[in-house]
Amino acid sequence: MTLLPFAHALAARQDLPIPAWLFAWGASIVLIVSFVALSIAWRKPRFEETRWRPLGAGLSRVLLSLPVQALCGSIGVLLLGVAVYAGLRGTEAPDRNFALTFLFVTCWLGFPVLSALLGDLFRPFNPWRAVGRVAGAGFRAIAGQPPAHLAYPERLGRWPAAIGLIAVVWLEIVYGTSGGVAVGLDPEAAAVAALIYSGYTLAMMAAFGVEKWCERGEVFSVYFGMFSQLGCFGTQDGELGLRRPLSAAARWATPYGSAAVVVASIATTTFDGASEGPLKGTIEAVFDWLSGAFAPDAALRLADTLLIAACVAAVGLVYMLGVRGMRTVHGAPSLAKLRVGFAHTLIPIALAYLVAHYFSLFVFQEQAQFTYLLSDPLGTGGTDLFGTVSSGVDYTILSANAIWYVQVGALVVGHVIGLTLAHDRALAYWPDYRDASRSQYWMLAVMVTFTCLGLYLLSYSNQ
């Protein structure tokens, strides 16, 4: 039998599975919290209003001024350029090349957490938005009128972003692990993918307008923006302000396909966790079955692709079952309204999955990011910009116990916030308080399923 290369792109270490007793405690706490939530729940919706409070005109004027925007945009373009250049010209070793850690760890994992805490930080640094705006300003200066855009087909909603999100994860963990080596995506492939994505994004921005595409189709804007809805910082009418935490999320899912973005996020994280755990045997079986007809690399990628699609379908199915269940409760609004109306309640679960799955990778890999990868982005030993090229990653700063508690804690907190949002939304949708509570048995089942699946993936051991 061919030995399959399974490993995360950069992981020099993997987390130990959480022990059985912690799994039991985590699951018990989740159940207790859920039942308590049902019994003590409030009767008036609390998160439907944002309670907007501006942070002060002076602060907004400085932070949202054109020079600051230009500076942030330039930083974004510069860093993307460094990553692409390092990917094309730097070492093939993924852990020594700036490109992979910067794109797939620092940005891809860092922005969701930062956005949830501090608001939509990606927006000012978004390199494509910056380039698109400069191009638009240039067009206006030359043509004397703003560029004409096509009307964005609203039926597409956020589907382009949902599909793009799956494509990004596919590139990282399906295309990347298939190279016949145990180190994952090679930096050059990441750089080429970034260039292709840049071309595609700029073309879409030219067609539909910069801001429109950022709201609907630009994967990173939509994905990071989704997490920024959880926090209390935001902008409104060109002003920075504070809002009630979680209140922005209640309005986020209105465009079509928003549920697909959350489902894609949960499903791809599930696949990444399960592909080295409970799904490993299945992947190998599908691989063996396919390897009669395909070369090993193609067969493995195809097997992974089939299973990532199965994960998306399964997560979507669980959500749809919950929605259909709620529809059966007396006084329920239409199926379409329910499907859109509860999508945002899964955002905290998606964030919890990310933290549970990638927390340790992020903490360890960021040490590399801010030491040797910054000093020697190409990884060829040619530069030592900040004198930190010889530093390494200190793996002793996190004990296995610390990682376990963060993982289980994240899942439990995500579960509680998800339940909170779902209960609040139900109060807004059902005129009768008791019907609203009854409908929430269904969302409770959905949340318990996802949280216990998350715990199960953490506790799964290969031994």
Binding site: L3, L16, A20, A24, L31, I32, F35, S39, N401, Q463
Partner: protein
């Protein structure tokens, strides 16, 4: 009402805890199986050149069972197979017979022998068991010989690592009988002195054996607790660098040589050990808190 509300979660928690803890503690089977593909040896007679199949060694609760399924043999012929200590690639494929007791006899139960007769289609199978467990790493290969001729290997070593098939044709020249095919199990690394050294220190030091650049028997599992000394050896038939990820230790190993690792287990987690040049994972190091 309030009372019911308080009882429900507590009951749920107790039920969940009982159910989940029960799940967590189940399943621990002491079964371990190693399988090797049977390949014809260069010295096999023409009629046996197509030999193929597989040999499986299973250790269950202190016993050992070897089963052999062969195809492509000369039809209707008697063969014998033995468990050997060495790998298939050495000059004398399989090396000496495996013996439980080095001072014991060259017959079962001190050795493991299989007798088999090919059917009209050239396929044959056989099973042999011992009520003792062949020590880990000592079942090198299974070699098939011709039957009816005395096989003259003195089993001086205490390792079992290959099953050979030798066949019983009538040849004018006397022994040794032609070795027909060999299935590699745990790889027959030469038993060097480092092994006995380790044994004399009291602790058994696990050895990862590399054959043709790949770990014999699949990726080895090495498990330690934080604070212990991590000790293991890598015996390789190819020159490469052994890289312990996370701890970031790098040791060169020459072709046919052995390299020892000995370091404190201070980082918790699961780490890859790989042949750096070949990018081949050879072991998984687990350090538990």
């Amino acid at each position: 009402m309030r009372k019911a509300i308080r009882t429900a979660p507590v009951l749920a928690a107790i039920l969940a805890t009982v159910a989940l803890t029960a799940c967590g503690n189940s399943s621990d089977d002491e079964t371990e199986a190693v399988t090797g593909q049977l390949k014809a040896l260069p010295g096999a007679p023409a009629a046996d050149k197509t030999a193929a199949g597989k040999a499986t060694l299973e250790r269950v609760d202190g016993t050992t069972t070897i089963s052999l399924d062969a195809t492509g043999l000369e039809p209707n012929t008697d063969y014998v197979a033995h468990l050997h200590t060495g790998g298939c690639d050495q000059a004398d494929p399989g090396g000496p017979h495996f013996q439980f007791n080095a001072d014991g006899g060259a017959e079962p139960p001190n050795e493991i022998h299989l007798e088999l007769r090919s059917r009209a289609d050239g396929a044959a199978s056989a099973t042999a068991s011992s009520n003792r467990e062949v020590p880990a790493g000592e079942a090198g290969s299974v070699v098939i010989h011709e039957a009816g001729t005395e096989h003259a290997t003195a089993g001086e070593a205490s390792g079992a690592e290959s099953v050979f098939v030798h066949a019983g044709h009538h040849h004018d020249e006397p022994a040794p009988p032609a070795k027909i095919a060999c299935a590699e199990l745990e790889g027959g690394h030469a038993h060097d002195s480092s092994h006995e050294e380790a044994a004399s220190r009291g602790g058994e030091v696990p050895t990862v054996t590399i054959r043709n650049g790949e770990p014999v028997g699949g990726v080895a599992e090495l498990e330690f607790s934080a604070g212990e000394e991590v000790r293991f050896e890598v015996a390789s038939d190819v020159a490469d660098e052994v890289h312990v990820h996370g701890y970031d230790l790098m040791e060169e190993v020459p072709a046919g040589g052995t390299v020892s690792f000995d370091f404190p287990a201070e980082i918790e987690g699961i780490f890859e050990v790989e042949l750096e040049g070949r990018k081949e994972q050879i072991a998984e190091l687990t350090v538990n808190p």
